[in-house]
Amino acid sequence: MVHYKYIEGNIAAQSGSQGQVIPLLQTVQEKHGYVPEDAIREISDITRAAVSDIFSVVTFYKQFRLRPPGKYLVRLCDGTACHVNDSKTLLDLITDELKLESSDTTEDGLFTVETVACLGCCSIGPVIMVNEEVHGKLTPKIVKRLLKEYHKKGNGD
């Protein structure tokens, strides 16, 4: 059996078709936080889908990242309900506090910030999701506190 760096042997053995492209990409991203170029080659080898096709899939779906994210992935919801409840202000605040201008990731690699269309927690908006934790009913003050807490936690361990 061929040894793959990104995909475990038993998973590779079960994944011989185009239909497995997205699940495999998801497995890689879950483990590494992003999809490295070599992983795309491995998936192409396993599923027999062309590298270019897989690359087109990676860039089509918002979930996939081609660069490693920060330790904390901050997803700011800009769905209708959050938008009506002023999520734009929170985005400006977060960008400001974390000094993000041209990049979506902080220099220290601690935070990556992205806006998402809807996290489905509309009735407690505005909402952000940090990794898998959802924080709702946010105000600028709470967001500042949260960022500080994560900053401390991130540098602590």
Binding site: I22, V57, D92, C118, H135
Partner: protein, 590 residues
């Protein structure tokens, strides 16, 4: 009798702190080991605005407490659990029949959400105790597939994902399609911003959706099913996978289910973040591992769907209705609602209503009843302006049409659509032009790029709207918007493009004066668009803390310490930073 204490643990509850409450409940129970207690968790009961929720069931009565914190729980535990005296102060419902929040439930009719908030979603026994899997047993042992389809047709159930296509007819087409390999797909790619009905149903009662899929599989002759679920809903995915595993272990899913010769397998596929995948053919492409671009129909999925085989796709809510209909009969379902819209509809209420959360109301109820009777009116008693229904494919219905009944055709007459169930309530402070811009930005972002009219047309419309909101609108803009809308609606191939102009068209229809005042007078009637308002300081509220002055990027704020400050309008760049920094609510927009 041992008391049962249940904590609501859907996403809303957890983010409001339900995990901490559950933790301290468990440690309190540990301290009082001599008292027999059952501690459980449940899904969403719909009252997202009062989470975390804790229910105490003493065997004869059920008490629901709201906004529970660790401290409140301590007191509730001492007084109610140990002392048998309910703490009235935080009690909102008794037996779901009376209490301060009973108005929220009074006009609701629960079919889809019949179990949500009443069962532990991870417990198969809980679901079975509430007639779970009786419908599939009935179908398998007492009915032919044609009879199942007949019941669904009679019920008048229509697709709850937004399209409103009669479910019975859809199943019939899939059944009639020749071939032995067929597929059932549950569309759980709930992408409309402002909608969370499917998330709550999957988190609160995954089994009812799975049972609906099994019944559909039997009816159309399929032995494989997929749930295509948004990756943004990790809890729903987890609960679905867990439920499937439990069912497989009990021979209630898989080969020869329930000892019959019917076999059905279900797999969960996680979406990867593309709104367009809510469209049937795009969803199929995505399961096949490709880019989620829609295909031209016909052939419809019922003829040529997943892997080229006949496929039936229904939404989560549609499937959740099915077991109830099979058990109770199509007539009982059809007795609810209007002539052409039967049964109930789940709405996710968000925005400026007092009570926000999940409601399930009978079809035929008016928008006014939902906003005022069920949801208690508008926060801060401001003026009700409009509801937005159907997300980026839908439109705004103004308060002047608040008597409109919830009915597929009635809503469509107004230029909006029933949609999947997102209902955003807006008050006088919401700018409708900005709202239209918001939705256009969404569709522009999510356009898959296949049709030029959608890819480029929505971009041109967005540019115009951005200009108007920024106070740089031109006289001809409204006409251009209308002109482009017509083209996009004519020339796009899938639902995304066909409906993309709706938010603009409905706001132009009902709130044209807002567009005009943005363009001609450079004023935002709702005092909301930053570029068209002035930021001012209320000297009565300003304490002179200097926080705003320190943070102002253009040094437009001046004033002495401990004295009211002033904003120099010539220097102000209207970034709104002072508005968010102020701790005393002293800065306002005009």
């Amino acid at each position: 009798m041992a008391k049962t204490i249940t904590v609501g643990m859907a996403t809303c509850g957890v983010s409001a702190g339900a995990e901490k409450v559950l933790g301290s409940l468990k440690s309190l129970a540990d301290v009082h080991k001599h008292i027999p207690l059952n501690i459980g968790t449940t899904g969403c009961i719909g009252m997202c605005y009062r989470e975390p929720l804790v229910e105490i069931n003493d065997g004869t009565h059920r008490y629901l407490y709201a906004d529970v914190t660790e401290e409140k729980l301590k007191s509730i535990f001492e007084n109610h659990v140990l002392g048998n005296t309910p703490v009235d102060e935080w009690l909102i419902l008794r037996d779901y029949q009376s209490g301060t929040e009973f108005d929220f439930l009074r006009k609701q009719a629960k079919i889809v959400l019949r179990n949500c908030g009443f069962i532990d979603p991870d417990s198969l026994d809980d679901y079975i105790a509430r007639d779970g899997y009786q419908a599939i047993k009935k179908a398998l042992t007492e009915m032919t597939p044609e009879e199942v389809i007949e019941v669904i047709t009679k019920s008048g159930l229509r697709g709850r994902g937004g399209g409103g296509f009669p479910t019975g007819m859809k199943w019939k087409f899939a059944r009639q399609s020749p071939g032995t390999d067929k597929y059932v797909i549950c569309n759980a790619d709930e992408g409309d911003p402002g909608a969370f009905m499917d998330r709550s149903a999957l988190e609160g009662d995954p089994h009812s959706v799975l049972e609906g899929m099994m019944i559909c599989g039997y009816a159309i002759g399929a032995s494989h099913g997929y749930v295509y679920c948004r990756a943004e809903y990790p809890m729903a995915v987890r609960r679905l996978k867990h439920s499937i595993k439990v069912l497989e272990g009990k021979n209630m899913l898989g080969d020869n289910m329930f000892g019959t010769n019917f076999s059905f397998h279900v797999k969960v596929k996680e979406g990867a973040g593309a709104f367009v995948c809510g469209e049937e053919t795009a969803l199929i492409s995505s399961i096949e591992g490709k880019r989620g671009t829609p295909k031209v129909r016909p052939p419809y999925p019922a003829v040529r769907g997943l892997w080229g085989k006949p496929t039936n796709i229904n939404n989560v809510e549609t499937f959740a209705n099915v077991p109830w209909i099979v058990l109770n009969g199509g007539e009982k379902f059809a007795a609810m609602g209007t002539e052409k819209s039967k049964g109930s509809k789940v709405f996710a209420i968000a925005g400026k209503a007092k009570r926000t959360g999940l409601v399930e109301v009978p079809m035929g109820i008016s928008i006014k009843e939902i906003v005022f009777d069920v949801c208690g009116g508008i926060k801060g008693d401001r003026k009700f302006k409009a509801v937005q229904m159907g997300g980026p494919s839908g439109g705004c219905i103004p308060s002047s049409h608040a008597d409109t009944k919830i009915d597929y055709e009635e809503i469509m007459k107004l230029g909006a659509i029933m949609g999947s169930g997102g209902m955003i309530v807006m008050d006088e402070t919401t700018c409708m032009v900005e709202m239209a811009r918001f939705f256009l930005q969404f569709t522009q972002n999510e356009s898959c790029g296949k049709c030029t009219s959608c890819r480029i047309g929505t971009l041109r419309m967005l540019e115009i709207l951005e200009r108007i909101v920024a106070g740089e609108g031109r006289e001809e803009d409204i006409a251009t918007l209308e002109h482009l809308s017509g083209y996009i609606k004519q020339a796009s191939s899938c639902g995304l493009g066909l409906t993309a102009p709706n938010p603009v068209l409905t706001t132009l229809k009902y709130f044209r004066e807002e567009y005009e005042s943005h363009i001609r007078d450079k004023r935002c009637l709702s005092h909301s668009c930053p570029a068209l308002v002035q930021f001012l300081i209320n000297p009565d509220k300003c304490t002179g803390c200097t926080l705003c002055a320190k943070g102002c990027p253009s040094k437009a704020i001046t004033g002495e310490k401990k004295k009211p400050h002033l904003i120099n309008q010539d220097l102000c760049i209207k970034c709104g930073k002072c508005h968010t920094t102020c701790n005393f609510d002293a800065i306002y927009k005009d």
